[in-house]
């Protein structure tokens, strides 16, 4: 059998005897502070009192650096299940939030031009319904007339009456419901009338 040169070198180096200095150095006894007996090691081998094995405390899988054992095999479902569920829940919450914000902004857009839009509608309905029966607060033509009644009937129209849709009043012209508006309401309507022709007509009356 032919030995390689490396093996020859190895044997040659290892066979070199220690000289006196090396022998004197090797004679020094290393200091050991804690006197643990080998019996303690043997007894600990079985019960694992000193060196704990890798476990899963709290149900979490982890790699124990202390004992250096191999990492446990975790199935992909267990590994990615929780992050996937968290991602789905977060995206669902984001969708709900967007829907809520969109819904609110739509409502605000519908409520904002209350009087301005209502002021246009009666103008279109004037020709279809008798003016005297169109007792609606959003009818710009009728507001001064209603205002004149304030001193006679002493009725006060609340702000809610101003929001009555013109169609419902027009469809029920025989309604005896006492209607009046306060001066503040009239001023509000006047201020919010955007139609220049209606405003001129309103002011002239």
């Amino acid at each position: 059998m032919v030995m390689s040169q490396r093996e020859n070198n190895c044997k040659g180096l290892n066979r070199q005897p220690l000289d006196e200095f090396e022998a004197a150095l090797a004679a020094l006894r290393p200091r050991v502070d804690v006197a643990t007996t080998p019996e303690a090691i043997s007894s600990c081998r079985d019960d694992g009192a000193l060196l704990t094995t890798c476990g899963a405390p709290g149900g979490h899988e982890f790699v124990c650096i202390h004992c250096g054992s191999n990492p446990p095999l975790i199935s992909p479902i267990r590994r990615w299940g929780w992050p996937a569920a968290a991602a789905v829940m977060a995206s669902l919450a984001a969708c709900l939030l967007v829907m809520l914000i969109t819904n609110q902004s739509t409502q605000v857009a519908r409520e904002q031009p209350l009087l301005a839009t209502h002021a246009v509608k009666p103008a279109q309905q004037i020709g279809r319904a008798p003016a005297k029966q169109m007792v609606t607060t959003v009818d710009a033509a009728s507001i001064p007339r209603v205002a004149r009644r304030i001193g006679e009937r002493r009725t006060v129209l609340s702000a809610a009456d101003l929001d009555l849709p013109g169609e419902s009043v027009a469809s029920n012209p025989n309604s005896r419901r006492p209607i009046a508006v306060s001066y503040a309401d009239i001023e509000t309507v006047e201020a919010k009338l955007t139609n220049a022709a209606l405003k001129r007509r309103f002011l002239s009356q």
Partner: protein, 169 residues
């Protein structure tokens, strides 16, 4: 192959524990704990290693370096102070080299030279095993050993032809 028997572990413990503690002391301040863990790990192996001594040195080396890294921030000063006060060797009147002087000289060596000397002289490993342990070539391990021995010889005032000199303080 079955694990090591308790008798074998006990024998390894008695023969190599001191050398392993010295080997681990290069890196960490609590080498006894590292060595004890290495022996526990050895005793729990289901298959005994081919070379238990080399296996022990390798485990001790890895764990000592890891322990040194984890404790580097909190106790570097304390460990240095403790290492300065306590020698690495037990003082004895029979020794031809003073323990404190040898400790100081060893500490001053470069890490590769010191590791090769400790593993070779006190661990009894061959140069091939030293090279595998340190992750270097055989010739590099041998050269590191020779350089370290020469440096120690010079620092301890030990001449080649002098059998006994002033190394003792």
């Amino acid at each position: 192959m079955d694990g090591l028997s308790p008798e074998t572990v006990t024998r390894l413990w008695a023969e190599h524990r001191a050398a392993l503690v010295l080997y681990a002391r290069q890196w960490c301040a609590w080498p006894e704990d590292v060595v004890q863990e290495a022996f526990l790990l050895l005793s729990r192996q289901r298959r005994s290693p081919d070379n238990p001594v080399g296996w022990l040195f390798r485990v001790v080396r890895n764990r000592a370096i890891n322990a040194a890294r984890s404790n580097a921030r909190q106790s570097r000063r304390e460990a240095a102070a403790a290492a300065e006060l306590l020698p690495w060797f037990e003082p004895s009147d029979d020794d031809r080299i003073d323990a404190a002087a040898a400790t100081k000289a060893l500490e001053g060596l470069p890490p590769d030279e010191r590791e090769a000397i400790i593993a070779r002289l006190w661990g009894g490993l061959s140069f091939d095993e030293v090279a595998r342990l340190s992750g270097v070539s055989l010739s590099a391990a041998y050269r590191a050993y020779q350089r370290g021995i020469a440096t120690l010889r010079e620092r301890l005032g030990w001449s080649c032809h002098n059998e006994k000199t002033i190394a003792k303080a």
